[in-house]
Symmetry: C2
Subunit: 337 residues, 2 copies
């Protein structure tokens, strides 16, 4: 089954290849009547442009790249990326651009992928996720002359346009909610913050608590499994013990909840629990988790829009993602006396 090319369309419409190209791309140079005829012929033949030929002649690959560099342990435990991908796709669909994805392990592998893509012109641009503190990827991408946008705090994006979240506004919602319930000592469970958004959240949460006159205890599970907050027992033995705990995501909260229950404490009567991110599982728990709902889909879509603007020659600045909204569910309640 031979594929139908622009030449076939030209023959059927009785014009030259060049005219067909003009007609199909909606540019001047053909009469309205001819344009109609060409469009009809193309439709009749079921013509779809050959991606490679288009890429070769106009110098763009019409695809953008995204590398997932995920440490093996965390696979399947990262809810947000799915939402990002959806949003990315939403925006790409209307722009005849496709998404090239590479799953790698390790920073070097990621950079190697970028080099390969840049030199082979496989992608027109990139969406960078999982921004880290002191991330060298923005710099590397500039050196490679690869347009990119970052999902993350502009502070660490080294000038690359980014989609950022107002973590402080998010933190304020949590803190305000807890304060209104009478909580004055709060714990935050999280490992060393290498990811920029985690760092930003830590800072935002601490600032917000300080402003509200709330004490924060930081718990760093010493275990090799950051999801498994073995620190919780110690925390609860504390004489000055916190009355609420904040987890980084609902999945980590699930593990934490199990530990808390194992100690014979009930939620929210003895201890309130909040999760910063949610994957959808939180609402299925008993009690359902109070959590911040982050619209990852919107963030992904905005990132792509930014990137497409950049590719179109604009010099876009960073843009804000919707601020996560606190969903109050059953896991938070009044602080115990």
């Amino acid at each position: 089954m031979r594929r139908v090319t622009i030449t076939d369309v030209a023959r059927l419409a009785g014009v030259s290849k060049g005219a067909v190209s003009f007609a199909l791309n909606g540019r001047p140079g053909v009469s309205e009547a001819t344009r109609e005829r060409v469009l009809q012929a193309a439709a009749d033949l079921g013509w779809v442009p050959n991606a490679a030929a288009k890429a070769l002649s106009d110098g763009r690959s019409h695809s953008i790249g995204l590398v997932m560099n995920r440490p093996p342990r965390l696979h399947g435990i990262e809810p947000l990326i799915q939402h990002y991908l959806e949003g990315v796709q939403d925006e790409l669909m209307s722009h005849e651009t496709s998404l090239l994805i590479h799953v790698v392990q390790g920073h070097e592998a990621e950079l190697a992928t970028y080099r390969e893509w840049a030199h082979g012109r496989r992608v027109d641009g990139l969406v960078v996720i999982d921004l880290r503190v002191d991330d060298d990827r923005p710099h590397a991408l500039r050196a490679l002359d690869l347009p990119a946008v970052v999902l993350g705090d502009p502070r660490y994006a080294d000038g690359v346009p980014s989609v950022w979240t107002d973590e402080r506004a998010a933190a304020d919602q949590i803190v305000e909610h807890l304060a209104s319930l009478g909580h004055r000592q709060v714990a935050r469970v999280g490992d060393r913050a290498l990811l920029a958004h985690a760092a930003a959240r830590c800072a935002a949460f601490e600032d917000s608590c300080a402003a509200a006159g709330i004490d924060v205890v930081e718990l760093r599970p010493e275990s090799t499994r950051p999801e498994c907050p073995e620190a919780v027992p110690d925390l609860l033995a504390d004489p000055h013990r916190p009355t609420a705990v904040l987890f980084e995501s609902d999945l980590k909260a699930v593990a934490g909840l199990a530990t808390i229950r194992g100690l014979g404490l009930s939620v929210p009567e003895d201890l309130s629990v909040v999760a910063w991110d949610t994957s959808g599982i939180g609402e299925l728990l008993h009690p359902p988790l109070t959590s911040l709902d982050h619209d990852g889909r919107a963030a992904g879509a905005r990132a792509v829009r930014l990137l497409l603007d950049l590719l179109a020659g604009d010099t876009p600045t960073s843009v804000q993602a919707p601020t996560p909204q606190l969903q109050v569910r059953g896991s938070t309640g009044p602080a115990p006396a």
Copy 2:
């Protein structure tokens, strides 16, 4: 910054474009000395083949496609896909092929993507996931002349090569484990099985139970949320009540566990709990979940190997994925008297 092309390499090496192509692709027609020189020149210039040009001239896009058609509700709740993707990538890396991913919503959108990809020659082949009972995609892909492999039961793959799992062997492990603990009545929580693997599991589990002389109750949560097994209370009110429950995945088990605990039952003393799939969260619970660990990574890798064979002109038959292994953890125990 102009990109370096094969012409640049040719000039530096002092030979023609054609010779460079021969040398770089390891085919006869150049002397060993010249090949060395060309390779050196290419390395010096940091040459990487232009993907579009290569695709145009050899007629292959050197990428394979994968469409994720995910109903919005389930996003982030599907653990296995991440593992598949990893495996897919593992195998692709060594073959200079990239992965084009499309996230769509709806069957029609998925088929439209396939048409687009086929006519535009964007991908050389496809990996099809989430095979359903009476799936029409294998047929559609054949009509489009798009090589494909399926992750799922060959029974529903309509002749398309597939990577399948021995669900019966998997079920036997669960049943044997439960039987050895004295369980004689078991419940299975799951919604109507539209996905082929779910259907196969149901059948395998029932057959296996029958062979072991165990009664099975099927619970279909009536709620619009299949993850939230509201059927559990009814089940436990049953006079002839089951002593163990099987969930489709650990994430569904998390929700189920919460419900069970809400009823004042403890696991595994009053009720044993098993999950068929695991995302890694199961082991973080208290008690950690007894579950089948499925090597999705291996399955993904095998699918790609199959596809590459197919593209190379072989006519591969279906291949078996590693059988999931039961990991006995704390959520199963002796059946209560």
